[in-house]
């Protein structure tokens, strides 16, 4: 197998305090090719944002720690790199868009200064002041903000415009990998459509690889090549977007997620929610972490962690796949 652009192997992250240990991410594997988009899907507490922060090496220092696995970015395990090297990667090669534009902008700096900041920090080719200013104007135009507004402060922008500024900040250094953590959740649907279209266009034009973190299956369907469904810190199902949306068999949790959404086209009298709640990440169940909520769970599911089964590109972690034609065991990593 050739060298992958981004490869996450057996990654586990825990948050430890004196009182308890939160098992936030548990032995996940995924990879990403240049220019591709992978969706990380799941509900609150599934470990999506922790995964993103781990890729950026931005876990809270005191509590968060990587307990197993590697994150290989362009052939290097980022956890082997010295801090200085990581500083140049972060922002320059890997950039992140956070969910809430209000909290990721500095309220006392103009947006132009904030966008320029990243360029000054990563000014490897000795750009002059004028070149930096010109680049700021260019990137603002790219996200649909008139460059004259670069002297404005964040509070002078609407929510959708602020998110565009955040996207401009992330894109100004032309990163190879963009991590978008719920980039449109705080926005109205018409503004969301504008931002999603813009992200798709920019991605296609610049060839940026992307990790799209979202709970919205609609956004996944519209933007992602591959999808990984997370539950209680594990990737319980992964594959191409087609596998996840139209696969011949899917993980019971994925099925539950789909049937929880009211359908826009057909009239459903009653939704079929997933009963119960996600398990407490400080005390994960012994067997499959979805077993307490799963309609198909057997005694074995409650005691024995399921293996990973693969059929082509499609991977599911569930005992139900045992003995099913076309599916082979990969073993639990």
């Amino acid at each position: 197998m050739s060298e992958k652009f981004l490869q996450v192997r057996d990654l586990s992250v825990q948050y430890r305090t004196d009182l308890e240990t939160v098992y936030a991410v548990n032995h996940i594997n995924f990879e990403l090719e240049k220019g591709q988009t992978i969706g990380l899907v799941g509900e609150t507490g599934a470990g999506k944002t922790t995964t993103a922060l781990t890729l950026m090496r931005l876990l809270p220092e005191k509590t968060g720690r990587v307990t197993s696995g590697t994150v290989t970015f362009e052939g290097q395990n980022i956890y082997d790199l010295p801090d200085e090297t990581m500083h140049t990667i972060r922002g320059h090669h890997i950039a992140m868009i956070f969910q809430d534009p209000m909290t990721s902008l500095n309220p006392v700096m103009t947006v132009g200064e904030q966008i320029a900041e990243a360029l000054e920090l990563h000014n490897t080719d000795g750009k002059t002041r004028e070149q930096i200013e010109a680049r700021v104007d260019e990137v603002l135009r790219m996200v649909g903000i008139p460059p004259e507004r670069k002297t404005n402060f964040p509070h002078q922008f609407s929510g959708g415009m602020k998110q565009r500024v955040v996207i401009a900040m992330a894109l100004v250094c032309e990163p190879d990998l963009l991590i978008a953590d719920e980039p449109t959740t705080a926005l109205d649907v018409t503004i969301q459509a504008q931002v999603i279209n813009m992200i798709r266009e920019l991605r296609d034009r610049l060839g940026t690889a992307m990790i799209m973190i979202t709970h919205d299956l609609g956004i996944v369907a519209q933007t992602c090549d591959n999808v990984a469904v997370m539950y209680a810190g594990r990737i319980i199902e992964a594959g191409t977007a087609f596998d996840i949306f139209k696969g011949e068999i899917r993980h019971p949790y994925t099925v539950g997620l789909f049937s929880s959404i009211p359908n826009l086209r057909e009239k459903t009298a009653r939704l079929t929610p997933i009963p119960g709640l996600m398990p407490d990440p400080t005390q994960l169940p012994a067997g499959c972490s979805f077993a307490p909520r799963c309609p198909h769970a057997t005694e074995r599911c409650r005691t024995e962690p399921p293996s990973v089964w693969r059929s082509g590109t499609h991977v599911i972690e569930c005992h139900l796949l045992e003995g099913r034609g076309g599916w082979t065991k990969e073993g639990r990593e």
Partner: protein, 325 residues
């Protein structure tokens, strides 16, 4: 006409030309501008629109939690805007509200049972404290909160359970009408589905009437009998749930529906329809249609004259000059 049939013909809730303007530094903010709605008993009216369209202000004004600037709110045909403080206090028992964020709408220093019992104790609807707590336990059963949570505090519970507290409290005075203001927007989809089912079940069991405010179009379609679409304080379209989604008339409604990313892989290469620009300011709005600045079909007439809400086809109303006859 007999007394009975006459009564059923009167909608439970009706507003006539309801307006709420707020004074702001640079003028008047038209939060709700001339909105007339009717909600028949046991029905659900969905109110949909983007942030700042006035949907929450409408919900609060209907309950008189905010005093209207002009217009009437009728409850079973009676104008409650004319009620005095004492009459209104009686009326409040019949009209309740469920908020988006249950955590900021409940007192964190009270236990679950105390929160649910509070309204009953204040209003003396139960003969004794013991009776109030007995009914609290029953309400917890109704909303699916295990009785063992009676003594715990809200911060110990997840968002879905907190919302169940909010629902139990709203039901405690046996209301007939509940304004649900984004009750599932803060919840994960699997929990959202649980709460939506609960709201629909108790509506059937108790004969409740809802005004369901949300920005989520798939939720509003699922729960509503009739829907109004609001834009900058005005109702731009009103139709049955099926009618609105089958044939949206107003350009704004069409744009709103087209903007939803659908969880369907076959739609993935469809470019999402985008409308230009953003919502304009509701402060001192200029005459004409408020959507005109973003509307591709806008003409000079649209910029000069405010369109009236007219009945285009039976039961389907639209405020747009494109449908002028």
């Amino acid at each position: 006409m007999t007394h009975e049939s006459k009564k059923s013909a009167v909608p439970l809730i009706e507003t006539r030309g309801l307006k709420k303007f707020f004074k702001v530094r640079n003028g008047l903010l038209h939060a709700v501008d001339n909105v007339s709605i009717t909600i028949p008993a046991k029905n659900t009216l969905g109110v949909v629109g983007e942030s700042g369209c006035g949907k929450s202000t409408l919900g609060r004004t209907v309950l008189r939690l905010i005093e209207p600037t002009a217009g009437q709110v009728l409850y079973e045909g009676e104008d409650i805007t004319a009620f005095d403080k004492h009459q209104m206090r009686q009326m409040r028992r019949k009209m309740q509200i469920i908020f988006q964020d249950p955590y900021s709408s409940i007192n964190p220093r009270m236990s679950v049972a105390e929160i649910i019992a509070e309204y009953m104790l204040i209003n003396h609807t139960c003969a004794s404290k013991a009776e109030a707590f007995q009914r609290t336990a029953e309400l917890m059963d109704v909303v699916g909160l295990a009785r063992r949570y009676a003594g715990v505090y809200p911060h110990e519970l997840d968002g879905g359970r907190r919302q169940r507290i909010g629902i139990a409290r709203a039901l405690s005075l046996r209301p007939k009408f509940i304004v649900c203001d984004e009750p599932v927007s803060a919840l994960d989809v699997s929990i959202q589905a649980q709460i939506l089912n609960l709201l629909m079940d108790i509506q059937d069991d108790m004969g409740l009437t809802y005004m369901f405010i949300t920005h989520d179009l798939s939720v509003v379609k699922h729960i509503s009998d009739e829907i109004i679409v609001m834009y900058l304080g005005q109702c731009v379209e009103r139709a049955t749930s099926d009618g609105l989604f089958a044939s949206p008339l107003h350009p704004y409604t069409q744009a709103l529906l087209a903007a939803i990313p659908e969880p369907d892989i076959e739609m993935r290469n469809k470019k999402i329809q985008v409308i230009r620009g953003e919502v304009t300011s509701p402060v001192n709005p200029p005459p004409g249609c408020r959507f005109a600045s973003r509307c591709e079909k806008a003409t000079d007439l649209c910029r000069a004259q405010t369109p009236e809400l007219i009945e285009h086809t039976s039961g389907h109303w639209v405020a747009c000059h494109l449908y002028d006859k």
